[in-house]
């Protein structure tokens, strides 16, 4: 917990984005998490991504559940909408908000406890419904807020800070998301912003359910030898399948790339993902082989990171439900009370 507020003074040559905002304008209040927490790095990456995407902060809704990770929306995008839901219920609240107003950009922030234990079902259904959102799990593999018990994503065989070995199988959220039909799936590491920031930008621009599993070492309870979520372990076992340049639509025309080593994926909104291949034969648009690849590497103890899968033709929940495009709060009496003639016609159509 830090008591000093971050000084408002900033670097004199801080660059403004297209909205005339500096990166500092996307910050929130100062973090109260433990010093060195990986979650703070993820917050910083979200701030950087939102700044680089020129997002108007008031068009973003950030939602979270309960846990260390779910506290973090207070520490970024201080001028955005925020909803701190009950434990594990963020996906449902987000789904409801999205149904009511599809114009906002939805950012769900959760943790391994919030999404892989109490909210596992919620997580699964939001993903399989294809809610247009960015869902980030700040995954530290431990219950930090309750002082270091194993979480559902702790790897089998890994050790707690006190030396206890975990006997339960781990839930791999990336594999689950792939299986449930997420149209954008990535894994990254809080200690690698060069990889994380473009992934968050791409996810925020993705028109479907985008899931990022971000490994985030818990400095206090899960950063020791024997942990598989520590800085050292992840750095030693990190296998990035690709690096990503996220290119906004207006810049996409001037894109240099080398065919063969790069894959270009154009998303619905015209943004282009320029993926530089690191693992040979890895195709991030092939869901089945992505799952097989993940399983194979995981068995060898590797932590596969990068953009693992993307469906450029993703659709979202609204398309399936054929909902009205206008946000519900903007519908007027004219649309909501169409009159008895319309009712009669509707009734007639059902007879």
């Amino acid at each position: 917990m830090t008591y000093i507020t971050k000084p408002q003074l900033h670097h004199p040559r801080l660059v403004e984005n297209a909205l005339g905002k500096t990166r500092r304008d996307y910050e929130g209040s100062v973090s109260t998490l433990c010093a060195g927490c990986g979650h703070d790095s993820i917050s910083a990456a979200i701030i950087q991504a939102a700044y680089e995407l020129d997002l108007p902060p008031h068009r973003v809704a950030k939602l979270s559940g309960i846990g260390c990770s779910s506290k973090t929306p207070d520490y970024f995008l201080g001028a955005s909408h925020g909803f701190n839901t009950v434990h594990g219920r963020m996906p449902s609240v987000l789904t409801g908000a999205n149904l009511a107003n599809r114009d906002l950009i939805y950012l769900g922030v959760s943790g391994d406890g919030d999404s892989a234990s109490i909210g596992f079902g919620q997580f699964a259904h939001a993903i399989r419904r294809g809610v247009n959102m960015t869902y980030i799990v700040e995954n530290n593999g431990v219950y930090g807020l309750t002082k270091g018990q194993f979480s559902a994503t702790s790897d089998k065989g890994s050790k707690s800070k006190k030396g206890v070995v975990n006997h339960d199988s781990a839930i791999d959220l990336v594999s689950v998301a792939l299986q449930l039909g997420a149209t954008f799936v990535a894994r990254s590491f809080s200690g690698d912003k060069a990889q994380l920031v473009p992934l968050i930008k791409a996810a925020l621009s993705h028109q479907g359910s985008a899931f990022i599993d971000c490994i985030s070492p818990c400095i206090q309870f899960n950063n020791h030898a024997g942990s598989t979520k520590s800085f050292d372990y992840v750095r030693d076992h990190n296998e990035a399948v690709n690096t990503l340049d996220f290119v906004v639509p207006r810049e996409a025309i001037h894109l240099d790339y080398e065919p063969g080593t790069n894959t270009l994926v154009t998303q619905h909104d015209g943004s282009v993902l320029n993926l530089h291949k690191l693992a040979e034969h890895y195709d991030p648009t092939d869901r089945i082989s992505a799952m097989a690849y993940l399983a194979g590497r995981q068995a060898q103890g590797e932590v596969v990171t990068g953009l693992l899968y993307v469906d450029p033709k993703a659709t979202d929940l609204h398309e399936g439900l054929e909902t009205v495009e206008t946000p519900l709060n903007q519908l007027t009496d004219a649309e909501l009370i169409p009159g008895s003639k319309v009712l009669e016609r509707l009734n007639a159509s059902l007879r």
Binding site: M1, T2, Y3, I4, T5, K6, P7, Q8, L9, H10, H11, P12, R13, L14, R24, V30, S31, C34, A35, G36, C37, G38, D40, S41, S43, A44, S190, G191, K193, P217, I219, N223, F231, D232, R235
Partner: protein, 595 residues
């Protein structure tokens, strides 16, 4: 880049921009913290030890510290360091108990010629060591140019009396009213083991133009006229006054004229406004007193009516720059301009004058008539004669005279003790961690967002009527505190210990000014461009760690670091620490202290 070495006093000293820029290396952040803490006497003594004249300098210093102040690079203006010094001086209690004890006489006698800031500094440093210090000055009171040339409305006489008194009270043998007319006879008097010359730059430059002789009655040399005003020999001036020159003396002349009956007072300068030698704040003060400053006008002739001055003719010039960027003033071709006036004050520079030093003593002079003086030891070619202040290297200002006085005193002490004068004592430095507890620091790192506070002034209706009435009222306690809180505490250093860094990025994420980067090492030029914020200020160092676990290095750009301590606050392993760096210059007879 190599791992930054912080051994020796220089690396961290340079980070404290104000202290580095101060010729006397006054520990500025330290005394500003004491002011914020309400410890005015302690703040005064920190100053007194270093710059000898805090009350005087707090009103008149040329403040090289302020353009250097880091705050000026982070927002619009630097901390008002100079005027905070005055807050300490104004609000201190009786400090006589803190003055140095005078040791028993050591049998050595030193003659100081002149009683200005340089000589008084030498006296202050040597008298407590037991030297018999004899000060000669032609004036009836000690202080030199401080008393003669600085107008009373900027510096009240009580302040001079008080601070000169602290020194003369150390058992100095003051021989006032005794002008030394011959160095030879002084040296022949064998009582003196060493002689210090601190006679300043007493001669004002004149303008030899047509009409100068004829209209002499109303053409005055600026610094001479100012001392006549200071000693109350002159009490009036004509209604229309032209001041020639663009330095600080010109500003003092015009503002003094406004108080002695000058209604239409103008400053007319050869150069452009920005190139004028006067400090920006002194120009501001003149403009505030409704004194126009006219630029690019070169005086050509004094016009007179049978010996009664009627005005000055000026040639209009324009600035031209040659290929090497050097500026030349060339005639604009426009017709000459005539400005009418009753009096002219010539303030176009000062010169040294040594008519009293015989040229056959073995004391060498250079081609410009300046004594050959060693820049480190201030020793002349005659080993027992030392120089300091304006008489050593030409006109500068008080703080330089003080710094040179300290250095000359070290040399004189070593010379009298048969030690090598080139063997200089290093400054004393200490580093003390400011960490008190998990989130507690022993310095106030909550940085104020206030913009620079203005020093309240007395109203013009009142201040222009009395040449002795101090125009600046000084900061009161509230304003002084508010201004003190703007200081960034640059002496509280960010110290990095790479063996315990786990590269979690917490410091990078929290740093409000993007000063910290973890990246692959490289050459300095390349590295400077690859940082979170490019490090374009080449006068500011990069603080580079040794190689870290991932093979990268930590690079911190010192340029705009706020010293807020958030990097250390958010560091989980204590790899960052905030440590107060104290540097105190070692003066004559002292041993450098180090912890």
């Amino acid at each position: 880049m190599q791992r930054t070495s912080t051994d020796g006093p220089d690396y961290f000293h340079k980070v404290v921009d104000c202290q580095w820029a101060c010729p006397a290396h006054t520990p500025v952040p330290e005394y500003i913290r004491l002011i914020a803490d309400g410890r005015y006497s302690d703040a005064y003594m920190v100053n007194w030890r270093s710059n000898v004249f805090p009350g005087i300098l707090g009103r008149t210093c040329d403040r090289p510290c302020e353009p250097a102040c880091r705050r000026g690079r982070v927002e619009d203006e630097p901390v008002a360091i100079c005027r905070l010094k005055r807050v300490a001086a104004d609000n201190k209690t009786d400090i006589t108990a803190f003055l140095p004890q005078v040791a028993p006489r050591n049998g050595k006698t030193v003659a100081l010629v002149g009683a200005g800031p340089a000589a008084l500094t030498v006296a202050r440093d040597l008298a407590p060591l037991g030297y018999h210090v004899v000060v000669f000055d032609g004036d009836a009171k000690a202080g030199g140019m401080i008393r003669r040339q600085i107008p009373r409305f900027r510096l009240p006489e009580e302040v001079i009396d008080e601070e000169v008194g602290y020194i003369t009270g150390l058992g100095i043998d003051m021989r006032l009213g005794q002008r030394i007319d011959s160095l030879k006879s002084l040296l022949q008097d064998e009582t003196y083991d060493a002689v210090f010359v601190g006679t300043g730059a007493p001669r004002g430059r004149d303008l030899d133009l047509p009409g100068r002789k004829e209209a002499a009655a109303n053409i005055h040399i600026g610094i001479d006229w100012l001392s006549s005003v200071a000693f109350e020999h002159v009490e009036r001036i004509g209604k229309r006054v032209i001041v020639l020159g663009g330095g600080n003396t010109a500003m003092d002349c015009c503002r003094t004229s406004r108080r002695l009956g000058g209604e239409d007072v103008k400053v007319i300068v050869r150069s452009g406004f920005d190139e004028m030698k006067a400090s920006p704040w002194e120009k501001e003060d003149a403009l505030h007193e409704d004194i126009p400053i006219l630029n690019f006008l070169v005086p050509k002739e004094f016009t007179h009516d049978n010996g009664r001055l009627t005005g000055v003719i000026f040639e209009k010039v324009v600035a031209q720059f040659d290929e090497s960027g050097r500026r030349k003033l060339v005639a604009s071709g426009e017709p000459d301009q005539h400005f009418e006036c009753d009096d002219v004050l010539v303030a176009v520079g000062q010169e040294n004058a040594f008519p009293w030093i015989e040229r056959d003593l073995g004391l060498d002079f250079d081609e410009w008539g300046m004594p050959k003086v060693d820049e480190v030891t201030f020793q002349s070619t005659l080993p027992k004669v030392f120089f300091g202040g304006d008489s050593a290297f030409g006109p500068k200002n008080i703080i330089w005279a003080v710094a040179q006085g300290h250095d000359a005193a070290i040399s004189i002490d070593r010379f009298c003790q048969d030690q090598d004068v080139r063997d200089r004592p290093p400054p004393g430095t200490t580093m003390v961690s400011q960490k008190m507890g998990i989130h507690e620091w022993s310095y106030d790192n909550d940085i104020s967002n206030d913009l620079r506070h203005r020093v309240p002034l007395r109203g013009k209706d009142e201040s222009l009527k009395n040449v002795k009435l101090e125009v600046e009222l000084g900061f009161d306690l509230q304003l002084g505190l508010a201004e003190a809180q703007r200081c960034l505490n640059c002496d509280v250093q960010t110290v990095f210990a790479e063996p315990i860094c786990i590269e979690c990025d917490a410091c990078v994420d929290i740093c409000p000014v993007d000063a910290i980067t973890f990246t692959a090492n490289g050459e300095e030029g390349d590295l400077r461009m690859r940082l979170s914020a490019p490090a374009l200020n080449l006068t500011q160092d990069l603080y580079v760690s040794g190689e870290l676990k991932t093979g990268r290095v930590m690079v911190k750009d010192e340029d705009v670091c706020l010293h807020c301590g958030l990097c250390a606050e958010r560091c989980p392993t204590g790899a960052w620490d905030m440590q107060q760096f104290t540097l105190e210059m070692t003066h004559a007879g002292e041993k450098p202290c180090a912890r």
